[in-house]
Symmetry: C2
Subunit: 419 residues, 2 copies
């Protein structure tokens, strides 16, 4: 049998099936496997149920030669993955000494709590697996092999799963996988509909060879276009993909705002860093979300100095010096208010640029003149102030996300225009 | 055949398999179906690939009597779900006049752009489906029936999927589903390990009847305990679940911080609202994330007045009046700094309580005395100020999340103590 380089992900846990937890593990695993040329054929979520897990293992074994299983390895009664795997691969439970020593160290030196029987049992593993020592948690990872398929069982805690993927699993899979490559290239457009872009790309899509696919990935006003190529020679594939990507960029020209997969905040962060410039934020309706997006990335302190979340009118007045008269006559959601917010923010935070937003995110708070979804935005530098009003028609969370994208894109345009 | 009340979710899109997009739709669908007594047996993600989608439909048809399909209904070439379903159910494409009229209205009155051929084609549907008119987007939803199974195809855009679920799908499924009920009750604990809690619940878990399950759902320092019951009589089931839930609460007593499924911010929001009190935030290392968590919830303006994101030392000094000498001698990450931040924040924002955090989130910026993960936190009211230092050992994102939880829990304790 030729190696297929096909992986499946099985996530285990009732919480995934009743929607109490959003599965972020699968996205990470898929991304990392893709980088080493392994495609995901299926992602399956099953509950903490013996038969369902067993059946998922049976089915995925038929189509994948790598199976990543996450979840159900904890110390509590609802965690049934380990005994199940032991039975599935006809093993017996034995004490794994290195894991036991690691647990003893962890409880004594790091957690500083007594180790109870239940914890000791976490060092029990099926005698038919290779143990992947989990240095950042208590549940060990496990590797099993059967016929042509390799199985990895990892804890569901995202940080532990990631550590084991990066320190064990990816290396093992790289060595076992055959030499097929998958490469991606992504461009970002802003503010245009999917069908509008698709219309411009009719000829381009027709020109694509069989091993290259184009995907449209809309995220609010942002649309990412991703070319994915598959091939056996990395050099040739890379060349082919680059040429087609350049055609794509040429075809869409002015609609492309970035030639790599990036969020708007990352695009702005890169622009600011390259010019040694800084930014600050004055947020009302987005309540700190824009600041949190900027500071999510390591190294943010180089370009992000700080912000004011002036949620109440009192704070707009006392901290951001929006005149009481402006608030009373024109209201908190007005052009005059966001201009005052942006201007004062620029002075207070002493930055090259500032941005300000004030709006009504819903579900309540709208009036006839200013319905839910009305947002005023301003961006400012020492010499220029620009404003814009938008009318959104989504739910609260979507309205917040759209507002962030729109104002961060205004800042992007201001920085680019200033260059 | 007895109705099984079993649903499967099939999500379609390459972006889900290469990890470029995190699937939040499934969690929403699962939650809503659970509320009306329908269990999810499987969640499967497949790429934009004809054979894979076909095979997923075949397989899920065997085990589920409701199948929710999302994604691949857009206007571009990678969207193949609609023609595939047409073939799967032996139909032919026909123009759906109400959808066409809706599209014409949408383009003329809302989007204010010309409607192109590609958009018109979105109104084409298989003649073997019931159309679910999508009033908040361009791609219509579709319902198919075959043997004992009902299939719903919905757009992948979360807001459109949600609208169709709430306005069409859930009603239809409710009527078709048999009268079995699933009920959940969740309690929240803070700061204790899963195995520590499990040890206290050994007897309780043994006492659980077959139709009731207990699940442990850790999220950083928060641990949610969820009891799930299944039964045919809603009254009896509810009574049974309530009794067991009370036993659970009694068993864990002082470790329970809340008797419902809620985030820490929601718990604090409820406490503040019930007392007519307010809060403000002074954030350095969390960069606005705490403010954004509070303002995510509708009605936040009742208790959240605003915050300062003092990311730079200059802002700590100029806006939050942290003395230059404190910053120079004790540093930005110090007890004196967070006390000054919290105190000034309380005055500036004029609130009942304030909180302040300053720390080193990594991956860089640590020193020998203050390694990455060092965080100082303070909470304050007019009469009391409390501080705490923690040492985290995660990656940047996890360090931010843990810091938020720890300081919001400090505020919770302060509010409860003040009662």
């Amino acid at each position: 049998m030729t190696p297929k380089n096909i992986a499946s992900i099985i996530t285990i846990g009732d919480e995934l099936l009743i929607g109490q937890v959003i599965d972020t593990n699968s996205a990470f695993i898929a991304q990392e496997l893709n980088k080493i040329g392994v495609s995901i054929k299926n992602r399956v979520a099953v509950g903490d149920n013996f038969n369902d897990i067993w059946q998922a293992l049976d089915e995925q074994s038929k189509i994948a030669n790598f199976i990543i299983i996450t979840g159900g390895l904890g110390p509590t009664a609802d965690d049934i993955t380990k005994p199940l795997l032991c039975q599935y691969f006809n093993g017996e439970m034995v004490m794994h000494q290195p894991t036991l020593q690691h647990l003893e160290y962890l409880f004594k030196e790091v957690l500083k709590r007594p180790m109870i029987d239940r914890n000791t049992q976490q060092a029990l593993v099926p005698n038919v697996c290779n143990v992947l020592l989990n240095q950042v948690g208590t549940a060990p990872g496990m590797m099993f092999t059967k016929n042509e398929t390799t199985y990895f069982a990892l804890p569901g805690v995202p940080s532990e799963m990631k550590w084991l993927m990066n320190n064990c699993v990816l290396d093992i899979i790289s060595k076992k996988a055959s030499a097929a490559f998958i490469l991606h290239k992504t461009a970002v457009t802003f503010g245009l509909g999917e069908s509008f872009i698709a219309e411009k790309l009719i000829e381009f899509e027709k020109s694509l060879p069989n091993n290259i696919k184009l995907a449209y990935l809309p995220n609010n006003a942002l649309l990412r276009l991703r070319l994915t190529g598959q091939g056996v020679d990395k050099e040739i594939l890379s060349q082919q993909l680059n040429n087609l990507f350049n055609n794509l960029i040429d075809t869409l020209k002015e609609h492309i705002i970035y030639n790599e997969d990036a969020t708007l905040e990352q695009i702005v962060a890169n622009l600011l860093t390259s010019k040694n410039q800084t930014i600050s934020t004055a947020e009302s309706c987005t309540g700190g979300y824009i600041a949190s997006l900027f500071t999510k990335n390591a190294g943010a302190s180089q370009y992000f100095k700080g912000g004011i979340v002036s949620y109440s009118n009192q704070m707009k007045n006392s901290v951001l010096q929006v005149p009481t008269q402006t608030l009373e006559t024109q209201g908190a959601v007005s052009e005059a208010t966001v201009i005052a917010m942006a201007t004062q923010c620029l002075q207070l935070c002493n930055t090259t640029y500032s941005l300000a937003v004030s709006g009504i995110m819903g579900p309540d708070g709208g009036t006839f003149e200013k319905p839910v979804g009305t947002v005023w935005m301003a961006v400012a530098s020492q010499s220029i102030t620009k404003t814009k009003k938008i009318q959104l028609r989504y739910n609260r969370q979507k309205n917040i996300e759209h507002t962030c994208q729109q104002v961060v894109n205004m800042i992007r345009e201001l920085i680019v225009d200033n260059s």
